[in-house]
């Protein structure tokens, strides 16, 4: 009994020391990691709105599509959405740009591995221009035949983004 207690105590002390060490390193590296993430995010955002200034916004979301929201100072909003298309193992992560009235100005996929030549067409510039750009907050974006699964997923994500932008502009809620 005494032996067992000794063993437990020894392992406990070792774990405690390790825990404290890992925790203190984490408190140093965590802010740097967060900064790096933000910096890489801003690189993505600048591809959409070159030279603009961005501020991160806190938004409430029940849909599960919204990953983040940014205000483009004086120009509009960018919503980061995540949705699952045809490739269920790699979700689609995309940025949706809105102007200050809530009209869609662009869609940019950050990560997507949809079927080449089918699903990927949804993210091609030509399709983005005709399907998404210029749609208002009350419009539903189109689907693309031959890429139904992917474009439906994007449609749901954009709807969720439109709800967020509506509340940001102050139209609802």
């Amino acid at each position: 009994m005494k032996k067992a207690l000794q063993l437990v105590l020894f392992l406990g002390i070792i774990s405690l020391i390790s825990g404290v060490a890992v925790g203190s390193v984490n408190s140093i590296t965590e802010p740097i990691i967060q900064d790096n993430l933000l910096a890489s995010e801003i690189t993505n955002l600048e591809a959409m709105y070159p030279g603009a200034e961005f501020t991160a916004l806190e938004v409430t979301d029940d849909s599960g599509y919204i990953q983040g929201a940014y205000e483009v100072v004086g120009q509009g909003y960018v919503i980061k959405v995540q949705t699952t298309g045809y490739n269920t193992s790699t979700p689609i992560i995309a940025l949706v740009g809105f102007d200050s009235e809530g009209t869609i100005t662009g869609l940019m996929a950050i990560q997507q591995q949809e079927t080449d030549g089918f699903g990927t067409r949804v993210f091609e510039d030509e399709q983005v221009q005709s399907m998404y750009v210029g749609k208002g907050l009350s419009d539903t974006v189109d689907l693309l035949s031959g890429a139904t699964v992917t474009s439906t997923a994007v449609q749901s994500a954009i709807s969720a983004a439109q709800v967020v932008v509506s509340s940001l502009i102050g139209l609802i809620g």
Binding site: Q6, L7, F10, L11, I14, S15, S18, G19, A21, V22, V25, N26, I28, T29, E30, I32, I33, N36, S40
Partner: protein, 212 residues
């Protein structure tokens, strides 16, 4: 002590001699960058874990020595992982899950159990350095072969700033003849097998000499 250090390279090279830590060395040896980054991380963890295990070897109860080693190694790997994530994000992304998997890299637990738990601190540190460099050396051999055959060049970027090319060349005359197979996992196995064979020949030769 010099022999401990030297052993790690040819005779007891952890990868080609003892066949330890093969999983990670096959997976991440696609480029010189990955090999150097991974080699450095493993060497660091190996030295630190050997030193700690050796320092507490007299007070560690025999019954729970393996759990104690695991706790020590896991904490060290977590620390290294967090530091790499913070300061070398590019390397963190390209090593992916294999950085965290250093925890279960058998070289580290193997050296803790086989060497550090029986030897002094300095000898253990030297053993860690030798084994770590042996692992790095093996990774370098595989990754240089693979990167060269699949891209006709070699590139090494500054790990703290991925834009800055520290060293690199491409032989343009060979570019049409690159074998992209070698960047896939098949290439890893082929390269590994060839090097393992060469190391076996070297080992056999030196042991024959000793026998005579």
């Amino acid at each position: 002590m010099w022999n401990n250090f030297k052993n790690g390279f040819i005779k007891e090279n952890p990868v080609f001699g003892l066949y330890l830590g093969m999983c990670s060395s096959l997976a991440i040896s696609t480029s010189l960058n990955n090999a150097i980054g991974m080699g450095a991380c493993v060497t660091l963890v190996l030295i630190a874990s050997n030193v700690i295990v050796s320092a507490i070897r007299k007070i560690t109860p025999d019954e729970i020595r393996i759990p104690v080693y695991i706790v020590v190694i896991a904490s060290l790997v977590t620390v290294v992982e967090m530091v790499v994530h913070a300061f070398m994000p590019e390397l963190y992304t390209s090593l992916g899950v294999f950085l965290g998997l250093i925890v279960v890299n058998c070289i580290i637990l193997g050296r803790a159990e086989a060497f550090a738990s029986k030897n002094g601190i300095v000898a253990s540190a030297v053993d860690g350095l030798g084994m770590g460099l042996g692992y790095t050396f093996a990774l370098l051999l595989i990754s240089i072969t693979r990167e060269f055959l699949s891209t006709a060049g070699l590139h090494f970027y500054n790990p703290f700033n991925s834009e800055q090319l520290l060293f690199g060349f491409t032989i343009e005359a060979l570019e049409p003849y690159t074998i992209s197979l070698f960047s896939a996992s098949v290439g890893a196995f082929l390269t590994f097998a060839c090097f393992a064979a060469i190391f076996a020949i070297l080992r056999n030769r030196s042991s024959k000499k000793e026998a005579k």
